[in-house]
C-alpha cells in the first residue's frame, strides 16, 4: 500500500469510522483474531530497567474492586480511607521512597495512585510492615482480598495481588509491545522481527486482555530524582 492520497487510501483510512466496518470488526474480525492469536494479560506496574533514572518516580495505579459498589458500600470505602488517612500518610512518610499517593473511587473500584522510587515489592512490603494493620481496614472493603487479612501474615501473596491489580503500563515506545507480548507467551526474544503494520491489531488484542491500562509511564518534571533527594534539597529531612 502506498501513502499517496488516492481515493482508495482515503477510503481505507476512513474504515474505522464507518458503521458497517465497526459492526464487522466488533462481531467478526476482532473475535476471530482473539481466537486465532490470543494475547495473555500483561503484568502491571513499571518494568525493571537497567537505567538508574528509570528506577525513580515509578507509577502505581492500583485498581481494587469494591466488595459492595452500592452508594452505601462506596461510603464504607470512603470512610475506611477517611478514618485511617493520617496513619496511612505518616506510614508512607516512613516508607521514605514515596513521592505522592492518593485514593480515588472510580467506577466500581477503589484506586490507589502513587509515585514511588525503586523496587515495587520493596515498596509494598515496607508499606505493609509500616501500616499493614491500618491498611487491613481498607482491604476489608475489597472484593476477593479478604483471605489476605491480616496482610502482614500474607505479605508475599499480597505483593502478588497488588502486582496483579496494578494497571499494565503500555510501553513509551509503541513497538516495544511486541517484545512484551512475545515474552508473555514464552516465545524466544530473538525470533523474526514483527511487521510494523500488525501493531494496531496487536494493540487491539492487548486491549481485549487488558481493558484498562496506563498509557506509558507518564510525565516527570524532574526525571531521575528520588523523593529523598528532593526532600534533601529542600532541607525538609529525609
Amino acid at each position: 500500500m502506498t501513502n499517496k492520497d488516492t481515493w482508495f487510501n482515503r477510503y481505507v483510512n476512513s474504515l474505522p469510522t464507518r458503521g458497517w466496518f465497526k459492526l464487522l470488526s466488533r462481531y467478526v474480525v476482532v473475535p476471530y483474531w482473539i481466537w486465532r492469536d490470543p494475547k495473555p494479560k500483561l503484568p502491571g506496574g513499571p518494568r525493571e530497567s537497567p537505567q538508574p533514572s528509570e528506577n525513580t518516580q515509578r507509577m502505581m495505579n492500583l485498581i481494587m474492586p469494591l466488595k459492595d459498589p452500592s452508594p452505601m458500600g462506596r461510603a464504607m470505602a470512603a470512610m475506611a480511607i477517611a478514618q485511617n488517612v493520617d496513619e496511612i500518610f505518616s506510614g508512607l512518610d516512613n516508607v521514605g521512597t514515596v513521592h505522592t499517593a492518593r485514593f480515588l473511587i472510580l467506577g466500581d473500584n477503589l484506586c490507589m495512585i502513587s509515585v514511588y522510587d525503586g523496587d515495587f515489592s520493596n515498596y509494598i512490603r515496607d508499606f505493609i510492615e509500616t501500616i499493614g494493620s491500618v491498611f487491613d481496614a481498607v482491604i476489608s472493603q475489597i472484593k476477593g482480598a479478604e483471605h489476605m487479612i491480616p496482610t502482614c501474615d500474607h505479605v508475599e501473596e499480597f505483593i502478588e495481588w497488588v502486582h496483579d491489580h496494578d494497571l499494565f503500563q503500555a510501553p513509551d515506545f509503541p513497538t516495544d509491545l511486541f517484545a512484551l507480548q512475545d515474552a508473555a507467551k514464552g516465545l524466544p526474544t530473538d525470533g523474526p522481527a514483527h511487521e510494523i503494520m500488525t501493531l494496531p491489531r496487536d494493540l487491539i488484542l492487548q486491549l481485549h486482555a487488558n481493558p484498562n491500562l496506563s498509557l506509558g509511564g507518564g510525565y516527570r518534571s524532574y526525571p531521575g530524582y528520588s523523593a529523598a533527594q528532593v526532600r534533601d534539597k529542600f532541607g525538609v529531612g529525609w
Binding site: 525493571e48 538508574p52 521514605g96 521512597t97 515489592s121 520493596n122 510492615e129 502482614c152 523523593a227
Partner: protein, 478 residues
C-alpha cells in the same frame, strides 16, 4: 498455613534438623559445587533418603547444623534444590504453589532486578547455567583434601546426572580476589552460638532472618512457610552465584584513580603530605592513594580494618574492632562503599523501616588462578576468569537478597547523595556513567572519581531451597 511461628525454641533440635552450611561456616579449604539433574527419580529419592539418615558406604551423609565437636567429618555434604528440582522430584502442584514467586521463577527470570544484564545476562552464562530448567540440585561438598571431593562426587554421580562442576578454594588469610579479607561481619542469630561473631555488637537477628517458621526482623511480619511443615519448616533459601572478578582491571583502575587524584586540587585534604607512611607500611604517595580508594570503595582496608573507625591507617594502634562500629552523617566511610550499601547498620537510611531487615548470610570461596595485587605484570593483562562461588542465604529472597541488590547495591536509594549510582565493586557499572564519591576529613566535602567499569560479572547461578533434614526425608518418600 501461616502462623507456624514458634514461641518456644529448642535450638539443639533445630540445629540437628537444619543443614550445616546455614547457621555456621565450615571453614574448610576446598569446595566443590555439583550442578545436578534428576534423571532417575527413584534413584534420586533413594539417595536423598539415605543421605538424610546419616549416609552409608555408598551415599554421603547430609551434614546437619549441630556442632560436631572433635569428631570432624572428612567432608561436608549439603544440597539445595531449585524449583525445577522440586518439580522433578515429584512435589505436588499444590505444594509448589506455596513457594515464593521469586523462587518459582528462578534466578534467570529475575535477572534485571538483580543487575544481571549486559555481560552478566543469563543468556551469556556458560553450561550448565544456559539450561536453567535442567539444573535441579546444587550439591556442595566442603573438604580439606581433593580426594574427599572426588570420592563424594563419584557417589553422587551414581544417583544424578552431573551437568557441571565448579571448584573453589580459600585463598588464605580469609582473603578473596581484589585482595580483601572477607566474611568478617555476618548476622548473629538469637540462640545460635557462633564463635566467629562472639564479640560483634550488632543487634541479634531473629532466627526468621535465615530459617523459615520463626519471627522475622520485620516486626509482626511473617514469611510464608511452604506447605506442608515437614517440607517448609527449618528450610532456608540461597542465591547461589558464580561471580567473576576482574582483578587485573580493578588494580589498573586503582592506578588510574591514584594518577587522577595526584593531580587533583584537593588531594592534600584526602592525603596530607607525609601522611602516606601512616596509611600503610612502605607505601609511597601513589600506592597510599590506591589503597585509600580501595578502602573507601569497600568500606574496609584490604586487611579487613574498618575504614569508618580507622580512616587514616590500615594498621591502627591500638587495634580497632573489626565489627563494632556504626555509621552517621559524619561518617568517613562513604555512603556508597560496598559494605555500607550491603549493610547500612544502624545508620540513617531513606527506608527507615528497613533498618537491619535485609540481612544476608554470605558463604563463599574463590575460584580460578591466583592473582597477587601486590605483584602482577601490568604489561601483560591477566584476564583469566577468576572470582567467587558465592552463597547468599536468607529466609526470603525477595525481602532480603533481591531487596539489597536492586535498591541498595544498584540505584542506591538508601541515601540521597548516592542515589543514581551503583556499588563500586559489585554494581552494574559502565565506565561512561560510573561515579564514586571519596570522603574528605573534617566534613570538607568529597572528591568524585569516575570511569570505572563493571568489576564483577555474573557467570551462572540459581535460586535454591535448602531443605531441612526432615524435608529431605519427606522428598525421599514422595
Amino acid at each position: 498455613m501461616n502462623k507456624q511461628v514458634k514461641k518456644d525454641v529448642d535450638i539443639d533440635a533445630i540445629e540437628r534438623d537444619v543443614q550445616g552450611n546455614i547457621l555456621r561456616s565450615y571453614s574448610r579449604h576446598l569446595v566443590r559445587h555439583l550442578m545436578l539433574e534428576v534423571t532417575n527419580v527413584a534413584a534420586a529419592r533413594r539417595f536423598l533418603g539415605v543421605a538424610a539418615n546419616g549416609g552409608s558406604e555408598a551415599v554421603p551423609a547430609i551434614t546437619p547444623g549441630s556442632d560436631w565437636g572433635k569428631a570432624k567429618p572428612p567432608s561436608n555434604f549439603n544440597i539445595g534444590l531449585t524449583f525445577e528440582g522440586l518439580k522433578a522430584l515429584g512435589v505436588s502442584r499444590r505444594t509448589l504453589q506455596t513457594f515464593p514467586v521469586e523462587f518459582s521463577q528462578g534466578m534467570t527470570k529475575r535477572a534485571m532486578k538483580i543487575g544481571d544484564f549486559g555481560d552478566s545476562a543469563p543468556d551469556k552464562w556458560p553450561a550448565p547455567f544456559d539450561t536453567p530448567e535442567k539444573v535441579h540440585i546444587v550439591a556442595s561438598i566442603h573438604a580439606d583434601e581433593e580426594g574427599q571431593l572426588d570420592k563424594v562426587e563419584a557417589q553422587v554421580a551414581k544417583a544424578f546426572t552431573v551437568l557441571g562442576v565448579r571448584d573453589g578454594r580459600g585463598l588464605g588469610r580469609g582473603k578473596v580476589f581484589f585482595g580483601y579479607k572477607d566474611s568478617i561481619s555476618q548476622p548473629r542469630f538469637k540462640w545460635v552460638k557462633d564463635r566467629t561473631q562472639a564479640t560483634a555488637d550488632e543487634p541479634l537477628d531473629p532466627l526468621g532472618t535465615i530459617l523459615l517458621g520463626y519471627p522475622t526482623s520485620m516486626e509482626d511480619m511473617s514469611f510464608r512457610v511452604p506447605y506442608p511443615d515437614a517440607l517448609g519448616l527449618n528450610g532456608s533459601f540461597n542465591a547461589f552465584r558464580i561471580l567473576a572478578q576482574a582483578s587485573y582491571d580493578y588494580e589498573i583502575y586503582l592506578d588510574e584513580a591514584a594518577d587522577f587524584l595526584l593531580k587533583h586540587k584537593d588531594v592534600d585534604l584526602l592525603l596530607p603530605p607525609g601522611a602516606e607512611k601512616k596509611v600503610g607500611k612502605g607505601l609511597d604517595r601513589h600506592a597510599a592513594l590506591r589503597e585509600i580508594v580501595a578502602a573507601q570503595m569497600c568500606g574496609r582496608w584490604r586487611n579487613g580494618t574498618p575504614y569508618e573507625t580507622s580512616p587514616d591507617t590500615m594498621d591502627p594502634d591500638p587495634d580497632v574492632s573489626p565489627t563494632n562500629f556504626d555509621y552517621s552523617a559524619q561518617s568517613r566511610c562513604p555512603a556508597g562503599a560496598h559494605m555500607r550499601r550491603a549493610n547500612p547498620r544502624g545508620g540513617h537510611i531513606v527506608q527507615r523501616i528497613a533498618t537491619y531487615t535485609r540481612r544476608l548470610v554470605r558463604r563463599g570461596m574463590s575460584y580460578g588462578p591466583d592473582f597477587d595485587p601486590d605483584d602482577f605484570d601490568r604489561k601483560n593483562p591477566d584476564r583469566r576468569e577468576r572470582g567467587l562461588l558465592g552463597n547468599f542465604l536468607c529466609a526470603n529472597l525477595g525481602a532480603q537478597f533481591e531487596a539489597v541488590m536492586c535498591d541498595w547495591l544498584n540505584v542506591g536509594l538508601q541515601t540521597p547523595s548516592i542515589t543514581g549510582t551503583n556499588d563500586p565493586l559489585l554494581g552494574a557499572n559502565t565506565a561512561e556513567t560510573s561515579r564514586f564519591d571519596l570522603t574528605l576529613p573534617d566534613n570538607a566535602g568529597t572528591i568524585s572519581i569516575y570511569g570505572f567499569p563493571r568489576f564483577v560479572t555474573a557467570r551462572g547461578g540459581a535460586y535454591t531451597f535448602l531443605p531441612s533434614l526432615t524435608a529431605i526425608r519427606y522428598l525421599s518418600e514422595l
